[in-house]
Symmetry: C2
Subunit: 353 residues, 2 copies
């Protein structure tokens, strides 16, 4: 089997090719559009990025550190930039409709009164869903730090004397910080019945016997990891072990079934079949794309009908939830490039603490 070859560079050239093809004279990105970070790999407090079929200009405040970028010229955003940008020859201006504010859109209409504003959000999603070598390195490193934090947690559980959910989430987030990462999202630590709420807000609830759900991830140089593990405090009974095994098998089976051309929705239906009578307790999508945003393309939704493609990074995260009782979720961040590579390698056999 020929393995997929990941693209080497950020996709600026490819986007410029698209602009040329669609006869878009220039595309304007404005803070806080995450695509600015995608193209520049930087996250300044304010910026404007203008991409034409042949050039790219990154405008920063004069108070910022001026970086050196390949293929992108860095300029200071000065008063009157609107007039400088104005050009009566411009006929089509690209915008990211998902993000650009109505206020800035009106401003663009004034700068280019005769131009048509064209939505480029679909192309951006497509580009970003297929990761480059550089992006994969960053995501893989974020996943490694995520695994390291989890291993430290479970290997020295007694030493840390955690008493509440928050004690555990603080530990994880401090670990990320100590290892040159930030937290990709507020860590979920959900004890017992709290875990029945998939997006539970970690509280000062005390740890006790039962399933403990952890959903955590480091972010390294703007790229994210996403991982969930469900451990057990105390000794699980047979039914609890069986429930966990069912979910684990479903997660592993879904991972094994990842194949180019199959839709994410099909994959989800497989998991539903395998969960049998617990299928109705699996109340969310099977996963989502991960990258510079914690939730990005590809989409797993029924409506999207997206197909699995080479170069994508996404999660596989089935869960079973019993309102007011308990919740279990097992989630990995996965890279697909001809074959499946599980980037989060934390132990998945039921851990008892």
């Amino acid at each position: 089997m020929m393995l997929y070859s990941y693209p080497k560079k950020m996709k600026l050239k490819e986007f410029q090719q698209y602009l040329k093809q669609e006869k878009i004279d220039l595309t304007v990105f404005i803070h806080p559009d995450i695509n600015i970070t995608y193209f520049t790999q930087l996250k300044p407090s304010f910026a404007l990025l203008v991409i034409t079929p042949t050039t790219a200009s990154f405008y920063l405040s004069g108070l910022d550190d001026a970086p050196k970028l390949k293929c992108i010229s860095v300029k200071v955003l000065k008063k009157g930039w609107e007039k400088k940008l104005a050009n009566p020859k411009v006929k089509r201006v690209g915008i990211n409709k998902d993000v650009i504010s109505v206020g800035f859109w009106e401003k663009l209409h004034k700068i280019f009164p005769k131009a048509k504003l064209v939505d480029v959000s679909g192309e951006l999603k497509k580009l970003r869903a297929q990761k480059t070598v550089e992006e994969i390195k960053k995501i893989a490193h974020a996943c490694k730090v995520t695994d390291d934090a989890f291993n430290e947690l479970i290997n020295h559980w007694k030493k840390y004397k955690f008493k509440t959910e928050q004690d555990v989430s603080h530990f994880m987030e401090e670990y990320f910080s100590k290892h040159n990462c930030t937290t990709a999202f507020p860590t979920i630590v959900a004890m017992g019945k709290n875990a029945a709420i998939p997006h539970y807000n970690t509280s000062n609830c005390k740890l006790k016997r039962g399933f403990l759900l952890l959903d955590f991830g480091a972010s390294y140089q703007n790229y994210n990891a996403d991982c969930s593990r469900t451990v057990f405090i105390g000794n699980p009974n047979k039914a609890e072990k069986k429930l966990y095994e069912l979910l684990l098998k479903a997660q592993q089976n879904a991972t094994a079934q990842i194949k180019e051309g199959k839709t994410f929705w099909e994959l989800q239906q497989l998991v539903r079949m395998q969960l049998g009578k617990y299928s109705s307790h699996f109340i969310h999508l099977l996963g989502h794309g991960v990258g510079i945003e914690i939730h990005e393309a590809p989409s797993f939704s029924m409506e999207a009908k997206e197909k699995i493609k080479n170069g994508q990074v996404f999660t596989i995260e089935p869960g079973i939830y019993f309102p007011k009782k308990c919740g279990l979720r097992i989630e990995d961040t996965i890279l697909f490039g001809g074959k499946v590579k599980v980037l989060t390698k934390s132990k998945k056999e039921l851990i008892t603490l």
Copy 2:
């Protein structure tokens, strides 16, 4: 002198009064509009908030924890919400033009084809610039944790054996995390010439003799603190001490001159006068409003001509920068309510380490 009495509650009622007055039937806020957090004090991963002159509905994903809120009903965002919201009687729909995306604006036009979409961003800025008792408590707590982190840093400087700028920024951010806060913004730790760039990106640059600029702040329950201190590693010479003293006096004098009705721009001109020959080395605004966003109203810009008003929280942060040599900045977060209250109380006399 009569002291100003801070409003007790979040400003929902006041905003509803405005909607009534402007004959706006409803205002729709969508993620990631920070005003959702302003009205609900929550920061869910996705939400929709609909405020009418008499009601407020907070729509969350079914995967979220459903909170209990005063005066706001919490609902699950279900498929077909657009149809439920549609109402041919609606004539004027409020939107926050600064944030709402062109994509969502088009969706609102479809939901309310006969309605006029009216910008409410100015009113939101006005409301948010005047803080409530509850907001002030949170900001003051964030400032306390910020001060505590700085005190721990300087009191035990030798113990921590910091070698690089990043060592120091990690220390600060871990301290915030350990004390139930997050970092309000990426901590700036700038050694020597690095500090000449006001928005410097902290690096692994080694600590050495000279001015070390720190710009740091904790965020507590979504409310931010903002503080800068410039310390000296080694022994400063006379000229260095004199420069620091000049800046400190300018900062203290500006703080003493805060008065209701005076414009922020006037205050800034006073600082420029006091800095004398160094005035041209003060290359940014004197300050900015702080609250649920690290930069919010009031604006200190010349164009805005905003006047100091009761209930505002803002920074006073003059700086002197010498490109490729060094940079100094001293910044406090200040509450104005008839009299001036400096919320960040970290020592301002030149600290040598």
